[in-house]
């Protein structure tokens, strides 16, 4: 007679794991990060470094306080994803204390105080970003132009210096080296009643959106497509977010091309693509059913467009995501799937 172990079902090795999903997500962002660095300098990488370090430390501290085991949670990669996405939304060469504030808020308040992984109703990266946006409005507008345009911009060492001290060395002034983002520029110029063709003639613009930004957008979309192929995310939210931005943008553009950004501009500017593939797809805070996800994504896209056109900020992805996060439970309630054998 031989005795056997009877731990319950399931028996087969699972296919997926949380850490595998997170790792794939981070890998898919590597090409886009490389292109970003090529165009805008090492600022992004420094931001990611600071954000990751602070994020990991904050998470370790909170897990300790909550008396949870460190290894599985630090190892699942979720805080690294939050760090990367948060860092991406910040201007390059953001002072480290701003990044740190945002990350601590995201990890401690927006994630662990709600119960940790799987329990946060709001996207932590966006919650951190909005906090920082409102608290440090000036620093958050210090976007650097692409290095090709900035003949006197900070080089790598100066960016490093700026990140750690908040000041540019070498006699540079922030006003002199920063430039508005394409969306920023479009918004302010439209308010001054400049027409779109005139706006688009500015040297910062490429084919349809900001130079450099377009390229990064392409690679983000490629990374996102790879994630869909590998089943890390499903297509519903990205497609819905893009539709939610493009449909109103196209309608507005068709009605008045002079004072509305083209659909291409909307698609490739700001955080549209990053939001569509990486931010809004955070499974914990999004809706869950396929239909629900389509509605969720549409909502994010539409709110983004509304904020860009009529709101006070140049980009609305963060607000779109957070507002739809709040609506997600309601969406889930109304989009339950029809169960086999039932009518509904």
């Amino acid at each position: 007679m031989k005795r056997f172990d009877t731990s319950g079902a399931p028996y087969l090795q699972p296919e997926a794991s949380v850490s595998q999903m997170m790792t794939r997500l981070l890998l898919s962002l590597v090409p886009a990060a490389a292109v970003y660095t090529w165009f805008f300098g090492p600022g992004l990488l420094l931001n990611i470094l600071v954000a990751s370090a602070v994020g990991l430390m904050a998470e370790a501290l909170v897990l300790n306080l909550r008396k949870r085991p460190l290894k599985p949670y630090l190892g699942d990669g979720s805080v690294l994803v939050t760090a990367v996405l948060f860092a991406w939304c910040l201007p390059p060469a953001t002072p480290w204390w701003i990044t740190a504030t945002g990350m601590i808020f995201a990890v401690v308040f927006a994630k662990h105080l709600y119960g940790g992984l799987g329990h946060n109703p709001f996207n932590p990266a966006m919650a951190g970003y909005v906090l920082v946006l409102i608290s440090f409005p000036q620093e958050l507008t210090r976007w650097l132009p692409i290095t090709a345009l900035a003949s006197n911009g900070p080089d790598a060492l100066q960016t490093l210096w700026a990140t750690f001290t908040g000041e540019l060395g070498g006699g540079l002034q922030w006003d002199a080296v920063t430039m508005a983002t394409p969306l920023d520029y479009v918004k302010t110029e439209l308010a001054r009643l400049t027409t779109m063709p005139e706006i688009k003639s500015h040297v910062m613009f490429g084919d349809f959106a900001g130079r450099g930004v377009e390229w990064v957008g392409n690679f983000i979309a490629l990374g996102g497509a790879w994630m869909i192929y590998k089943n890390v995310i499903r297509w519903h939210i990205p497609v819905a977010v893009i539709a939610g931005v493009l449909i109103p943008a196209t309608l507005a553009y068709m009605m008045d091309p002079g004072s509305n950004g083209s659909p291409g501009l909307h698609l490739f500017s700001g955080a549209t693509l990053l939001g569509a593939f990486y931010i809004a797809t955070d499974p914990v805070s999004a809706a869950t059913s396929p239909r629900g996800r389509l509605i969720f994504g549409l909502g994010v896209g539409v709110i983004t467009f509304v904020v860009r056109k009529w709101g006070g900020y140049p980009d609305g992805i963060a607000f779109g995501v957070l507002l739809m996060n709040a609506a997600a439970p309601l969406i889930d309630h109304f989009t339950r799937p029809r169960v086999y054998g039932n009518e509904q």
Binding site: K2, A9, P10, L12, V18, G118, P283, T288, S289, Y340
Partner: protein
């Protein structure tokens, strides 16, 4: 006529799993040796346990009935070979609880003598009542794994006209190949068994459902259909997706129709029968042979020589494993059934029962580590994969929070416990275990509610009775008071009353001397 229809209809979700079928389909069907002891649990089917007809010391012949069915949903048991009855003992059952149950233990005497208890019947001249009686007498239960008494199932089906018989040769769960082997080697008997049902139940057609990649089985069955030449039979090649072989999903694949919630497939005119059950029915009719053995796949990396074995019911799994070359080093998990829906057994001393379609032995590195659950990240993969179109995640949250009524309202009963959701969950949550738990709790709570309704009724009846008694008493007192008030107060009237009372009392005393006192 063979009509092959490539099916476009499918069911929601489902998984393409690594089949692991080739391990056990290499050779031919082998017979397991007769063991030293045959252990036959009295309850190895859905419904009430069978009642023993023999006692310790009796000698029985092979095919002799040793336990009779108890009630409408029950099954008989027969001796697989000539043996001495050792009695009824409480022994470990092949059941997830690991509990013991009553089993009839037989000691084969090595003579292998069989009796002729059920006369052979010509399948062509069979009427419905005779068929039902024969199937019941032969102790046939569904051999696909559910072990529901077939006679009861057929009786319910007989009430519906114009039904479609679905011959379930899908066998979608990985590792299990007993039906595949049966279709390769005994295809004619499967069809003849199906023909019996078609003729007696007046069914219009029979759909033979086989997975596309079971090439040898398809070949064998389609040749058999040609030989039979019965136009009612239709071969359906279905896509190899787990769990296409589940009754409800299979009907959806074959017809596009869904079985309504709370109803049975027969309610929409479909009767599913496993191929092995059909062979058992045919043998019971044609040869008078009761159900005493079944084909079991013995496979997995923990078994030295995987294959399919014809084993007598009651064979200890230990004997079966030995005849399959024994265990390989590192074998840690013994599962009755497949890797998705099977149950882990604590030891191999449990016997083969009617539901044992597969014995799967796995090694440490193939089995997932338990206890590495992460919190649910709401990724929704479980919903995408669920063949019953449920929202497993929501069910999980409700059950975890002890809100079983809420889970029930979300159609928990539609869950077929296929295990697809467990497989895809990145947080490694044992979802189907939650649903099994919740379903059994809901059943318990429903039973409790029925009990409490009865108790309330009894309480109210009692209250009524007591109130009625109190009312009667009050009435009588009222009457007396009225009489007293209206009577004359003369001494003569009073004396008359006293005399009457005395007479009544004397009468009562006389009565009570004869009979008992009543309240």
């Amino acid at each position: 006529m063979i009509k092959e229809s490539p099916l476009a209809k499918s069911f929601h979700g489902g998984l393409k799993l690594n089949g692991h079928k080739l391990e056990s389909t290499g050779g031919t069907l082998r017979s397991a040796p007769v063991p030293a002891r045959l252990v036959l649990p009295l309850n190895q089917h859905a419904g009430r346990a069978a009642v023993p007809l023999v006692s310790a010391g009796d000698r029985v012949l092979g095919y002799q009935e040793i336990a009779r069915p108890d009630g409408e949903i029950s099954c008989a048991l027969h001796a697989p070979t000539s043996a001495t009855v050792l009695g009824v003992q409480r022994l470990p059952m092949p059941h997830p609880s690991g509990l013991m149950g009553d089993c009839l233990v037989l000691e084969p005497d090595g003579k292998n003598e069989f009796g002729n208890f059920l006369p052979a019947i010509d399948p062509d001249s069979l009427d419905l009542p005779t068929l039902l009686k024969r199937v019941s007498d032969a102790g046939i239960a569904g051999l696909g794994g559910a072990a529901f008494p077939t006679a009861t199932k057929l009786a319910v089906a007989a009430a519906t006209t114009g039904i479609t018989l679905v011959i379930n040769g899908a066998e979608c769960e990985p590792y299990i190949t007993c039906d595949d082997m049966l279709m390769r080697e005994q295809s004619d008997q499967i069809l003849l068994g199906a023909k019996i049902i078609l003729d007696t139940l007046g069914a219009q057609r029979a759909l033979v459902a086989i997975e596309r990649d079971k090439l040898k089985a398809l070949e064998s069955m389609s040749a058999a259909i040609e030989r039979l030449g019965d136009p009612r039979f239709q071969l359906e090649k279905i896509f190899t997706i787990y769990p296409a072989g589940g009754e409800r999903q299979l009907i959806q694949v074959l017809s596009g129709k869904e079985v309504p919630a709370g109803k049975l497939p027969i309610d929409i005119g479909y009767l599913c029968q496993n191929v092995a059950t059909l062979v058992a029915i045919y043998r019971a009719v044609k040869d008078g042979q009761p159900l005493v053995s079944r084909i079991t796949t013995v496979t997995g990396s923990g078994i030295a020589e995987p294959g399919n074995y014809l084993a007598m019911l009651g064979t200890p799994l230990e004997t079966l494993a030995e005849s399959a070359g024994g265990y390989t080093p590192g074998a840690t998990r013994l599962i009755m059934g497949g890797p998705m829906m099977g149950i882990a057994l604590p030891s191999d001393e449990v016997p083969v029962v009617k539901a044992t379609n597969c014995v799967l032995v796995l090694q440490e590195d193939e089995v997932r580590a338990s206890g590495d659950q992460m919190p649910c990240i709401r990724c929704g993969e479980c919903e995408q994969i669920c063949p019953a179109q449920l929202q497993p995640q929501e069910l999980y949250w409700h059950i975890r929070g002890n809100d079983l009524a809420g889970a029930d309202e979300l159609n928990l009963s539609a869950c077929i416990e296929c295990g697809c959701c467990d497989f895809v969950c990145p947080s490694h949550i044992p979802l189907s275990q939650y649903y099994r738990f919740a379903k059994s709790q809901v059943r318990l709570l429903d039973a409790r509610r029925v009990q409490s309704d009865i108790a309330r009724q009894r309480f109210e009846d009692r209250k009524e009775r007591l109130d009625a008694e109190a009312a009667r008493r009050k009435e009588r007192l009222e009457e007396k008071r009225k009489k007293r008030a209206s009577r004359e107060n003369t001494p003569k009237a009073i004396k008359g009353e006293i005399d009457a009372i005395l007479a009544r009392t004397r009468g009562k005393v006389a009565d009570s001397d004869e009979g008992g006192e009543t309240r």
